[in-house]
Structures are given as structure tokens and as C-alpha cells.
């Protein structure tokens, strides 16, 4: 495992280093698909310049990073490229480590015999961690995000570390990293439920409302999480001696005042919104992100890792300022569900649409902004299609997962009452 991993790391570092030194390094940080007002490198530099001028970075509306990020980059500003490459390496390695501890141990032998072909063999599973790391490190989206020095890479690293700590079973570290991820952008709050479910499962505490051990652990974890979050917020307050950052960071994420185009659904919707309904639709769209947590947790309470994947995917699609870096994070998980391939219904369509949209984004942007021969509707249409493809991908994997679970409990080759081959439908 070490040799292929080293080779992979070398290839990934080489690609990024080559791009950093080429002329594309000035072009990529300007692309709206890769950076957003929340995590653009240009804005981090601007915030540091404002701090040097003696003006608070949150006095204007350009800087929307958290104070810990300012202070982190204050010290490592000269090594920014290296920092970002290290972060990506970190994520890759972390994915590697966690997927070692795969769910093979949980796949008990209680399944019917004909499902043996559904259960993954150790040989298949040996290569999954490497494939996950490869999917993340060599994904063009990740490479673009790293070369653009978008702080999305840092956020991904924190989430990856959180998943690693959860899988390893250390609840304190998991709570701390989750608090850090929530502190950076609010949406990872929804990952609280899957983390809790996984840790409960690992400690063999059944999810039962009456059991006191369940409540004990839940309260413990909640306190650790909220405590670390409070510590971080208070530390930020003391760093800059003001609460400005709350409205500049969290108020900005939640109220979406900046309508810079990106690959998400929010910008054009709120550019064309009637003033009267603006607040209503902001609330609807933001609730939409958090709203799937409870139903998904109930349905997938025995499969917390898949739940984490679903939550991350939903966050990446429906958040207020998505970028391709967020997409790369959940796409890295896909090799872990290789065994679902036979149940996927739309994978060809979805992958073709995603590829086509990724190619069309820069073309239609150029036509709108530079050539002037298209208008904003073209770019918006591709945004819509891209998001529909992502939603189809996620729901397809969900369908495949549920179907596999059904087959594992009821057998693979199902027969109807009269003995002919049955078809499964959702009813």
C-alpha cells in the first residue's frame, strides 16, 4: 500500500506544482466556479492588507473569512502554495486511513446465501482506500481548487479529519473537528447526527429513547461539540476585539447579500427575486439544507458512513456559495460504494451531463462576460443542469444503497408468487 500511495502523492504534487508555475495560476483564481466570495484567495490577501492599514477587515464587505483564518495566514502567507498542497495531501491520506477500517467487519454473516456475490471480498476492499485517495487527489476539481488557493481546501481537510476521528472512535477529537468545520461554514452542523450515530454504533449503544446510556453519550458528545464551538467563537472575539465577524461571516452565509455568479442555485434566483418575497425564500432555501438531516438519519441509522456521504453531498449542492472544491469532497467517497454499481440506474447519463456542464461553464461565462453575445440565462441554464445532474447522482446512489440492503435481507434473486422473476418497485 505504501508504494502506490507514494507514487500517487508524487504525481499529484507534480501536477499541482506545474500548474502553480504556469500562466494558468493567474487565470484559475479568477474563475467563479472555483472560488466564491467566501473562500477566494484574493479576499484573504485583501483582508490582511486591510489589517495592515489599520482598518478592521470586517469594516467592508470584501472579507468573509473567520478570524482564525486571518491569523493563520498572517503567519504562513509566504508559504501559501505549500500550505494548500499540504492540505490536499492531508485529505488524501486521511481518506486512505479511514477507509482501511471499512465496514467489512459490520457485514455479518446473517445474509442469505445467494447474496454472497453482493458482499465485498477482502481483495476488492483492499484497493478501495487507494482509489478514494486517487479520486480525491487526481480529481480536476480538486486540482483547480488547490491551484486557486481557495480556502475550500482547508475546510475539506477539517471535514476529512473529522471523519477520520469519528471512524477511529475518538469522540473528543471528532467533536473538536466538527466544531471547527461548523465554525468555518455553518453547514457541517448537519454532520452532527451521523457522527453521533456512528459513535453510538461503535460503542454498541442502541439508539433507543428509553436507554439512559444513549442519553448519557448524546449529552456528552453535545457538550464537547458546543464547548469547542464556544471556545472558538470566543477566541475569535478576543483576537479582533469585536463581534463584527459574526455578521460578516455567518450573516453573510445565511442572508446571501452578494450575488456573484457561481455554480449554485442561489445567485440568479435572488438576483431576480421580488423584494417582497426575498426573506421568505432565503429562509426556505436555507432550511432546505438542514431539513433532510432528520429523515435521512432515521432511514440510515444503521449506516452512518453513507449518511455522512449523503449529508456532505446535500450541503455541497444546496449551500449558498458552492464551488467545485465542495463537489470534489463527496465525489471522493464514490469508490467506496463500488459495489453498488450494478444497481445504479442513471450513472451514464449523470456522468455525461456532469462532464458536458463542466466543459460548458467556462464557455458560456466567456460568452456572457467577455464576448457579450450571450446573456446570463445561458450560464444560469448550465448551473441548473449541473445541479440536476448532481441531485440525480446522489439520489441514484441512495436508491442503489437501499436496494442492496433490501436484497441483503430478502435475497438477491426474487421470485413472484407464480415463480417468475420479480421486479422491485418503490411503493
Amino acid at each position: 500500500m505504501a508504494a502506490p500511495l507514494t507514487l500517487l502523492l508524487i504525481v499529484a504534487v507534480t501536477i499541482r506544482a506545474v500548474l502553480f508555475r504556469s500562466s494558468l495560476a493567474e487565470l484559475i483564481p479568477e474563475r467563479v466556479e472555483v472560488v466564491s466570495p467566501l473562500n477566494a484567495w484574493k479576499r484573504v490577501v485583501e483582508g490582511l492588507a486591510l489589517l495592515d492599514l489599520g482598518v478592521s477587515p470586517y469594516a467592508g464587505d470584501v472579507f468573509h473569512e473567520t478570524p482564525l483564518i486571518i491569523y493563520f495566514f498572517h503567519f504562513v502567507i509566504d508559504y501559501a502554495e505549500i500550505v494548500f498542497m499540504v492540505m490536499t495531501r492531508l485529505v488524501g491520506c486521511v481518506f486512505l486511513l479511514q477507509f482501511r477500517k471499512q465496514k467489512y467487519a459490520l457485514e455479518a454473516e446473517r445474509y442469505p446465501l445467494d447474496c454472497l456475490e453482493l458482499i465485498r471480498t477482502p481483495k476488492e476492499m483492499y484497493y478501495i482506500p487507494l482509489k478514494v485517495a486517487m479520486f480525491y487527489l487526481l480529481n480536476p476539481f480538486t486540482i483547480l481548487s488547490c491551484v486557486a488557493k481557495s480556502t475550500c481546501g482547508l475546510n475539506n481537510a477539517v471535514i476529512a479529519l473529522f471523519i477520520l476521528c469519528t471512524v477511529k472512535g475518538s469522540s473528543l477529537m471528532s467533536a473538536i473537528f466538527l466544531a471547527l468545520a461548523t465554525y468555518q461554514s455553518i453547514y457541517p452542523l448537519t454532520l452532527f447526527a451521523p457522527a453521533l450515530l456512528y459513535l453510538l454504533q461503535r460503542l454498541y449503544i442502541p439508539v433507543n429513547w428509553q436507554r439512559s446510556s444513549f442519553w448519557l453519550f448524546t449529552t456528552q458528545y453535545t457538550f464537547m461539540y458546543l464547548g469547542s464551538l464556544c471556545v472558538m467563537v470566543c477566541l475569535s472575539f478576543f483576537l479582533l476585539s469585536s463581534w463584527d465577524f459574526l455578521s460578516s461571516v455567518y450573516g453573510f452565509i445565511l442572508s446571501v447579500p452578494d450575488l456573484t455568479p457561481n455554480i449554485g442555485l442561489f445567485w440568479y434566483f435572488f438576483a431576480e427575486m421580488f423584494e417582497h418575497f426575498r426573506l421568505f425564500f432565503i429562509c426556505v432555501f436555507q432550511i432546505n439544507v438542514f431539513f433532510y438531516t432528520i429523515p435521512l438519519s432515521i432511514k440510515l441509522k444503521e449506516h452512518p458512513i453513507f449518511l455522512i456521504f449523503m449529508q456532505i453531498a446535500i450541503i455541497s449542492i444546496f449551500k449558498s456559495y458552492p464551488t467545485v472544491g465542495d463537489i470534489a469532497l463527496y465525489m471522493a467517497f464514490l469508490p467506496a460504494w463500488n459495489h453498488l454499481y450494478r444497481f445504479l440506474r442513471n450513472i451514464f447519463l449523470v456522468s455525461v451531463v456532469l462532464l458536458a456542464c463542466s466543459a460548458l461553464f467556462p464557455v458560456l461565462w466567456h460568452l456572457w462576460i467577455y464576448a457579450g453575445s450571450a446573456n446570463s440565462n445561458f450560464y444560469y441554464a448550465i448551473t441548473l443542469l449541473f445541479n440536476v445532474a448532481q441531485i440525480l447522482l446522489v439520489s441514484d446512489y441512495f436508491y442503489a444503497y437501499l436496494r442492496r440492503e433490501h436484497h441483503l435481507t430478502h435475497g438477491l434473486y426474487l421470485k413472484r408468487k407464480d415463480g417468475s422473476e420479480a421486479t422491485l418497485v418503490l411503493k
Partner: protein, 586 residues
Amino acid sequence: RPYLVFPKIRLLQWEATEVKEADHVPDTMQTPDVPPPTPAKDQFQEELVIRPLHSGDIYASFQFRTMWDTDFLRGSKVSHYRLFPKSLGQVISKFSVRELHISFTQGYWRTMQWGQPFLPSPPGAELWVWFQDTVTDVDGAWKELTNVLSGIFCASLNFIDSTNTVQPSASFKPLGLGNVTDQRFLRYAVLPREIVCTENLTPWKKLLPCGSKAGLAVLMKSEKLFHSSFHSQALHFRPVCQDWKCKSTVWELRQTLNVVFDLHTSGQGKREWSLFKMFSRTLTEACPLASSSKVYVDVTDNPQLFELSPTTPLLSQAVVLGDRRTYSVYDLTNQATFGQTRSLNMLLRWRAAENMLRPLLHGERYVAGYGLQTGEIHTLMYNNHPYRAFPVLLLDTVPWYLRLYIHTLTVTSKGRDNKPSYIHYQPSKDRLRPHLLEMLVQLPPNSVTEVTMQFERALLKWTEYTPDPNHGFYVGSSVISALVPSVVAMDTNSTRECPLFSSFFPCKEESSYFMRVYTEPLLVNLPTPDFSMPYNVICLTCTVVAVGYGSLYNLLTRTFQVEEPSPGLAKRLANIIRRLRGVPLL
């Protein structure tokens, strides 16, 4: 024993230093050295300065000054208005205004062709006000004041709000007396999009004591005034000293009108100008309420440049804008000026065009870059003094939808970096306030200093665009304020006869003067959404969200079941009947 004689210090710039008379001076003429008789509480003076420019155009500048010794700040209302306009007086006492400067300008002043104006103004409408330090809510007073002024001048000053108002910290110090320099009481706003027309001129003329019925104001006819290259009307109100002893202060109201007539469009090609050709009127009498009514024609370049008729015996010299100029003076209070025809029509006949002296300070501004995503603002400042460097204060107000990046600010002179010694930067807040950048830059002699800054264009909400969004958005002019060394003081001729004790230091009289230069306004395009699409966009985006919701809902609430094929129609009917009968189904 020899004793030293100190020359008398002149405080007023426009006072003539010498008056040369060719003929016998009538007794009714007053020499300026004699102080006027017991001053009335208010007095009114009017004057017109005509300056032929080297490019062949004519620059005419009207100034109407009312000085009034009253107390606006006292609680008891001032009720007896004579020469001072009542509408303005009431506004000033209600809002406790200490200084008010408002200008409406159509056209851009071309410094390189026309030289320096007497009173510079940016294109559009500019308003800056210093409030008294007794005002508690300056923002509220500012909002009401702009609305009241909008009514008085029939201009859309109500568009002035917090998104285009700034509080400069160094650039707009009070022009009158007073020692309050807390910038909390200063407000500055500019509307570059404002158009000036007859509707603005008429209420402005109504503020004059004689209106447009007598005196110099009869020349202000709109059809000729607006058929010009540059037109600017302004109003300046400030406290000044009553006399050179400065024991008491009076309030001064100056109304100025600057207009530049174009030789080619109005002169029909003939290089000949007259008052009648410029204004389609001639002067018949002075305003009876005016204590002084004069017309000055700049004859410094006479007779090389042009020939003036009728000639006048009076000449006056003054140092203005750092240059010593000679003026022919026509005194309208003297009936003899009007001659037999009872009307005064001056005629200027051109001879030759000459190169004019380059103005010492000049500014230019433009937007660089392509596309609708980013851009760069370049401001160029030219210092044409051969050997003297001087500092200038640059004020930039940029609207919030052009997001400036201060870390991309570069200031270069002669190819090298020139770090400003003072930077005051207030970043913008979306939809609340604009960017404010003030810098003190030292301009090296005979050089061009370039200030560049990158910006990003924002996508606005569809309701925030003007009805013609593809026209673009205006960015107000930059203001360059400087103390410029005077041209007169540039004289380094050391062969002239003068005593040694006065010629050691190069400082001479009026060695530097205050100058303000306005750059061009900018017109910037922003990316626009499709304005016909709000309903469609809402429907389509909600559809995509519903697709997500629907597929997840489906998978969450339904389970997999083996599908039993549904029986044929006959069997189903039979089943229904059997169910009714209570018999087992097929």
C-alpha cells in the same frame, strides 16, 4: 539714519495692485485705497470676467456676491431679508449650516486646452456642506437638507443618500472662517449623472437680488448659455471677515456661473466675438442694488492674441491662479460706459493663436481592462512644474458595486514606486456606503504619477438597475487638491534690479495658491441579469429544488416491494362484485 519700510500687506486677491489711467479720472470714480463709507448691513456686488482662451474659445465667468452681517445662529428668527435670498436664508438657519457649496455642471473642463478655471467643478451635481458643531444628528440634517435643496434648485438631489455620501478627512477643509475641523460635520456627495438645464438655471437666477431683470444677469439667456462646451452654475455660502481687520464675521453668498463658448459651433468660423454673439443680449444698466458692477476682460495677451473694442481707460492687474494678469475694466455703475447707444457690447477680434503656458497640475482618469468581471481604475496626475515637487491630496469616491481591492493599489512616478505618506481608506458596505480613499502623494517635478487599483464588478438585484442598464453606471470625479507653487514665483531671473535683502529666499508674493482639479467621471458597465425573467427563474430554480426534494422523499418514505402484476379488467370487476358479496376473491 536709514529706516526700513515695510510694504502694505494685501489680504484680498482681487484687489487691484495698480490702477493705470490714461485719461483724466472722473470724480465719481472711487480709488480702491479709500475705504467705503459706513457699510450697510448687506451689500451686493456683481462682476463678469471674460477671458479669451488660446484654443479660440471664450470663457465667461459671472460672480454675484452678497455679504450680510446677521446672525443665523440666534434663536430669534431672521425675518427682514433685503438682498439675501429668503429661501436660502431659511434653509441655512433651519439646518444650522456653516458652509454650503453646491454646483451643477454640464460638460468637462479641459485643463490642457483652456487652462485653469477660476472655480473648478466636476460634471454633474456636487454638494458639500459643513454643519455647525451644535448639530446633533448630522445624517438626519443632511438628508433633509438635500431634499430641500432639491426642491429649491429643481434638481434630483434627493438621489443623494448614504450610498454616495462620504466624509472626507482631509480634502474639503472649510473655505470660510471657523476652526471646527471635525470631519463628523462634513458631508460630501456628487451625482455625476445629473443633467443641467433651464429648469435649474431659472431658480438659480431667482436667488439674485435683481433677478434677471437688471445688471449682468440679463445676459443669462438659456438658449445661448446651454449651447456651449462647458456650463457650470454654483452657489457658495460661507462666513468671511468683514474687512481686513477681521474684527467681525459676515456671511458671504457667492453665486457663480462659468461658461465656455465654442468658437466653431457659435462663431460660424469667423474669428470674432462680441457680447451679443455670446449671450444674444447687450448690457444696458447695472443692477441698482449693486454697490459695484464691473466687467473685466483679460487683456494680458492683447494685442498679440486679439483686439478689444470699445477700449476702456481702466486697467487692473491681479495675481490669479499664480499668474499675473491684466484686465480691462468696464464699470457699469458709471453711465459713461454705455456710451451713446446706452448699451455695452464688447467686440474681440482674433489675430493669431499662440501656445499657452501649460497648467501646472492636471489630472486624468480612465478604466482599463476588458469584460464585465474585473477592471482597473487608472488616475494620472501631471506635475508640469520644471523643478518644484509638491504634495497633492487625492480623494476617490467609488460606489459599492465596484469592489475595490486596496492590496492592488500601486502609485508609480517616473517608473518607480511612490509610496503615499498618508492613506485614509474606508471600505464600502454593500448597499450602505461607498468606498472612500484619500491619499497624500508627493508629485516629483515634471512627471506623471499613475495611481492604479483593481476592482470587481458586482451583479446587482434586478430592481437596483436604472431603466437603461446598458448605458452604464457613473463613478464620480476624483478630486485632486493641492497647494501649487505659483507661476509668478517661478521667475528665477536673477538679473533683475532688486535689493539683495529681498532676493535671498526664492519666496515672493503669492508663492503658492490653492487649486482643486477634478478628473473625468467614469462610465462603467456592470453585468446584467435578464430583466424579463423573474417569474421563469423562480419557477425553474424551485423545480430543481423540488426534483431533489421529490427523489429524496420517494426514497425515504417508500420501501421496496415485489410488484404483482395487476389483473385484467374483467377479473378486477369480478373481484369487486365478489367483495361486495363477501365471497373470497379470485
